[in-house]
C-alpha cells in the first residue's frame, strides 16, 4: 500500500478528490501540499470539513512534502497527495521516486490557454509538465477515475 494518486488540482480538497477518487481507492489519508494552507489554521479547518473523519488530512509545505514523500509512499495505508500548482508538482517530482502524476484540474486564468476542458496552462506550466515527463514520470490528465487517462503528449504539444 502506498500513495495511490499524486494529483495536481487547483481546487485542492473537493468532491472529485474525496469522493470521486478517495472512495474507489479506499484512501485513508490525504496530503495537501500548499505553503499558504500549511501556515493557516483556519484554512486547514475549512479543508478538513470536506473530508470524512476516517480519512486523515496532513497539511504540508512544499519543502516538508519533498522531505516526507518517501515516508508516505511506504505507508501501510493508501493515500493521496494533492497540490494546486505545477510548480509544487515539479518540486515533488524532482526529489522522489514517483512513477506517475495526475493532472486533475487547472482552471482558466489570464495567460493560460485551454488544453482540455479542465486543464488550462501557461507555456511555462506546460514546459514544467514536460520536464516532469522527461524524468520518466508518466503524466496524464484525468479528472475522475471513470474518465480516460489522457497522456501528456495529447494535451501539451
Amino acid at each position: 500500500m502506498t500513495i495511490a494518486l499524486v494529483r495536481l488540482d487547483d481546487r485542492l480538497i473537493h468532491g472529485q478528490v474525496v469522493v470521486g477518487w478517495g472512495q474507489p481507492l479506499n484512501a485513508r489519508f490525504i496530503v495537501l501540499v500548499d505553503d499558504e494552507v500549511r501556515a493557516s489554521p483556519w484554512e486547514q479547518d475549512l479543508y478538513r470539513m470536506g473530508v470524512p473523519t476516517q480519512i486523515e488530512v496532513i497539511f504540508a509545505s512544499i519543502a516538508e512534502a519533498t522531505r516526507r514523500l518517501a515516508e508516505w509512499q511506504a505507508a501501510d495505508e493508501v493515500g493521496i497527495v494533492l497540490t494546486g500548482t505545477v510548480e509544487a508538482l515539479a518540486a515533488l517530482a524532482a526529489g522522489s521516486g514517483l512513477t506517475r502524476v495526475n493532472v486533475g484540474g487547472v482552471h482558466h486564468r489570464p495567460g493560460r490557454t485551454e488544453r482540455l476542458r479542465y486543464v488550462y496552462l501557461t507555456d511555462q506550466e506546460a514546459e514544467q509538465l514536460r520536464g516532469i515527463a522527461r524524468r520518466g514520470i508518466e503524466v496524464t490528465a484525468q479528472d475522475v477515475p471513470t474518465a480516460r487517462a489522457i497522456p501528456l503528449t495529447e494535451f501539451v504539444s
Binding site: 487547483d10 481546487r11 473537493h14 468532491g15 470536506g50 487547472v106 482552471h107 482558466h108 486564468r109
Partner: protein
C-alpha cells in the same frame, strides 16, 4: 432591515440553477435567489462569481456540500468583508422555500433558520 436578504445558492454543476428554478415554480418568488455554479472555476474565479451574484445586499450563501471548493470559496469570500453575509451548507429545497419568505432578518439568523428548516425536511416516511 431596509433591504431583504438575497440568497446565493452555490453548487457543483447545475444543481443551484435547478434548485432556484424549483423555488420559483413552487412559490412564484423570482427575486430572492441567485444560482452560482462552480463549473470551470478555480477558487478566485468562483469568489468573483459569488461577488457578482451578491451585489451590495446582505445575503445568505447556501452551499451544497459541507466541504470542498464551493464552501471554501464562499468562506474566503465572506472573510473579505463587504455586505453582511452568513453561510449554510447542505442546501435543499425545503430550506430555500423557508428562506424566501423570511428575508427581513439578519443573515446569521436567516442561516440558522434555514438550517433548521432544511434539517426538519430530512425524514423517513412510514413504509407503505
Amino acid at each position: 432591515m431596509s433591504e431583504p436578504l438575497r440568497g446565493v445558492v452555490i453548487s457543483h454543476a447545475g444543481l443551484a440553477e435547478a434548485l432556484v428554478e424549483a423555488v420559483r415554480t413552487i412559490t412564484g418568488v423570482s427575486d430572492a435567489l441567485v444560482p452560482v455554479s462552480n463549473e470551470g472555476c478555480d477558487q478566485p474565479a468562483l469568489q468573483e462569481r459569488i461577488a457578482q451574484a451578491m451585489g451590495s445586499a446582505p445575503a445568505v450563501l447556501f452551499i451544497d456540500l459541507p466541504g470542498g471548493s464551493c464552501l471554501t470559496s464562499a468562506v474566503r469570500y465572506a472573510r473579505r468583508g463587504g455586505p453582511a453575509v452568513a453561510v449554510v451548507t447542505g442546501v435543499n429545497l425545503a430550506m430555500l422555500l423557508d428562506f424566501v419568505f423570511h428575508r427581513e432578518i439578519p443573515p446569521a439568523e436567516a442561516a440558522r433558520r434555514a438550517a433548521e428548516a432544511g434539517g426538519k425536511a430530512i425524514r423517513l416516511p412510514p413504509a407503505a
